[in-house]
């Protein structure tokens, strides 16, 4: 029984598989794979230009990954056909430059997204209830035909996967053979033959597309009546504002609700940006160097807020240069350099007993 529960809870919230990102010919992320579990606090450190910010931005597809998969909460985010906005609503992101909306008050900054989502849900529920009858009748009549067509599609994509997999093996072997280590800007970088890399990625993309098509192919289900959580737009706005005020109170900035961001200090801006992300009740929070643009005296208040959020059990992925903070808050620390995860370990081991030579060098410089 206990094992079973463990198995369920140990299902990763985010699965990153062979994530690759190229800017032109520069390989920024090179087949990164890792799993992030619920409740984990992953801190990512590494030299600048090593790909850690790109990795974070790929997680919610602000950067389009060149290849690989990111499976978040059961959805493959790299699939172009899923509704990325719905998935992003479950991922809060905090930026280095705060990025509060300059043309909205603090309160509207926080409520904009929840109100938009609420209105959309209301509209969708109304629409669903309206077309339910016709749709279900249509399904009863043509359901079998649609199912047959979907079966055919799945079979076709399975054939594609098999064919491409056969093609991939020799190309992959050749690609691995073309590996060369060259020195660039004082760093050793692995490079591969450009044409082969392109060829390999093209085949991998084809396989991934076919896999996604199979994932997407689902039998249509009859629609059921949906009760929207709020009856009208006014209720949605009122609820969002109440929630925003509660969050502002928590960070002690409720008197700033009706001012514009330009009048706030950096620390206040960043705390409000964090609260703005929290207002969507995300399943995971992504922090992209949240304190790098702050005056030293304001770093503390932002880190304190992040710590209190960590204490609530929120899953977090934090890119930071604050090693002390990483030690304190992390449950796992990743070292990303040269587009690869060079080392990952719990903080005690990571800082106390680093193994990778690049990490040793890095830590000796920053600690």
């Amino acid at each position: 029984m206990e094992e079973k529960i463990n198995e369920i809870t140990r299902k990763p919230l985010i699965e990153v598989k062979y994530l690759t990102k190229k800017f032109g010919d520069l390989l920024v992320l090179n087949e990164i794979s890792t799993d992030i579990y619920e409740g984990e606090r992953v801190v990512i450190v590494g030299p600048s230009g090593g790909g850690k910010s790109t990795f974070l931005r790929c997680l919610n597809v602000l950067e389009d990954p060149t290849a690989g998969e990111i499976i978040f909460d059961g959805d493959d985010l790299t699939d172009l056909k899923i509704d990325i906005n719905v998935c992003r609503q479950k991922m809060g992101m905090v930026f280095q430059q705060f990025n509060l909306f300059n043309n909205l008050t603090v309160l509207n900054n926080i409520t904009l997204a929840p109100v938009t989502v609420g209105k959309k849900a209301l509209k969708a529920a109304k629409w669903n209830n309206r077309i339910m009858g016709v749709y279900n009748k249509f399904l009863a009549k043509f359901g079998d035909k649609i199912k047959a067509r979907i079966d055919k599609k799945i079979a076709k994509n399975k054939a594609i996967i098999e064919a491409q997999n056969a093609l991939l093996k020799p190309v992959e072997a050749e690609w691995a053979n073309s590996k060369k280590t060259i020195e660039r800007k004082g760093r050793f970088v692995d490079t591969y033959d450009k044409k082969l890399t392109k060829k390999k990625l093209a085949i991998v993309t084809k396989i991934e597309n076919a896999e996604r098509a199979i994932d997407r192919a689902k039998y249509p289900q009859p629609k059921v009546h949906v009760d929207p959580p709020f009856k009208d737009k006014k209720e949605i706005v009122a609820a969002a504002e109440a929630n925003a005020m509660r969050l502002l109170k928590r960070i002690g900035l409720e008197e700033k609700a009706n001012v514009y961001p330009s009048t706030l200090s950096g620390g206040q801006k960043q705390r409000i940006a964090i609260v703005r992300a929290l207002a969507m009740n995300p399943k995971v929070m992504l922090f992209d160097e949240p304190t790098s643009a702050l005056d030293p005296e304001m770093v503390g208040e932002v880190l304190d807020l992040i710590k209190t959020i960590a204490d609530t059990g929120m899953t977090m992925i934090i890119v930071t240069h604050e090693m002390g903070f990483a030690k304190e808050v992390a449950s796992r620390v990743l070292f990303i350099d040269g587009g690869k995860i060079k080392e990952q370990a719990p903080p005690e081991e990571f800082f106390g007993n680093p193994k990778d030579p690049r990490l040793k060098e890095f830590l000796s410089k920053v600690l």
């Binding site: 809060g92 990025n99 909306f101 043309n103 909205l104 904009l112 997204a113 514009y260 940006a273």
Partner: protein, 241 residues
Amino acid sequence: MSIWQIFVRQFVTLEGYKLVLEGLLNTLIIAVFGLILGFLLGSLVAVIKTIPSNKKVVVGFFQRIADFYIAIFRGTPMVVQLLIIHFVLFPVLNINFKNIVVGNFVIQGVVIEAIIAFALNSGAYISEIMRGGINSVDKGQLEAGRALGLSYPKTMIRIVIPQAFKNVLPTLGNEFIALIKETSVASFIAVTDLTKAFQNMANSTYEFIIPYVVLALFYLVLVLIITLLVKVMEKKMKKGQ
């Protein structure tokens, strides 16, 4: 006759003021609606042109159309566009605009044609202005909106375009000033605009000095009013953020 007597004769005795009022109204209608429609069109074109083209064929297609539109309407004189729209395009498409009656006012069909022509023309210029404005807004604003799960159009409409609008407001005011002066060519398609009204007045009495000087004053006052309005708006928007 003294200048004053000429003035009174032309404007009051011969009922020139009616003509002037009609002309003023038409000029304002064409300029204001031309600007509003041109702004909407220009913003749309600017947004289309600033979409990062992720190899999406549809986006690329619309971007080519936008380029073509801008090239055509910036590359030909306003008068020529007006003439082509009135004498070529609408007759070929067999479109006839009827007069619209709003209370005591009659908005002529040709005025609507002029509005369309000026909207298309100013849209091409405003699209480039707005594109500059959109590019001047920090990229992080769009990213923050997208990261919260807002769609691209929603983020553009709620976040980026309002900020872009603020940034380009002085330039837009400039465009409006240029537009209101350019409406003086509307008489080419038989619209009684401000210029046409004064021209008629001058031609009927062969007294040219008073009508044309007063005409210039009319435009000057209009432009000064717009300048003032833009300044007030700028101040208000600055207070707003």
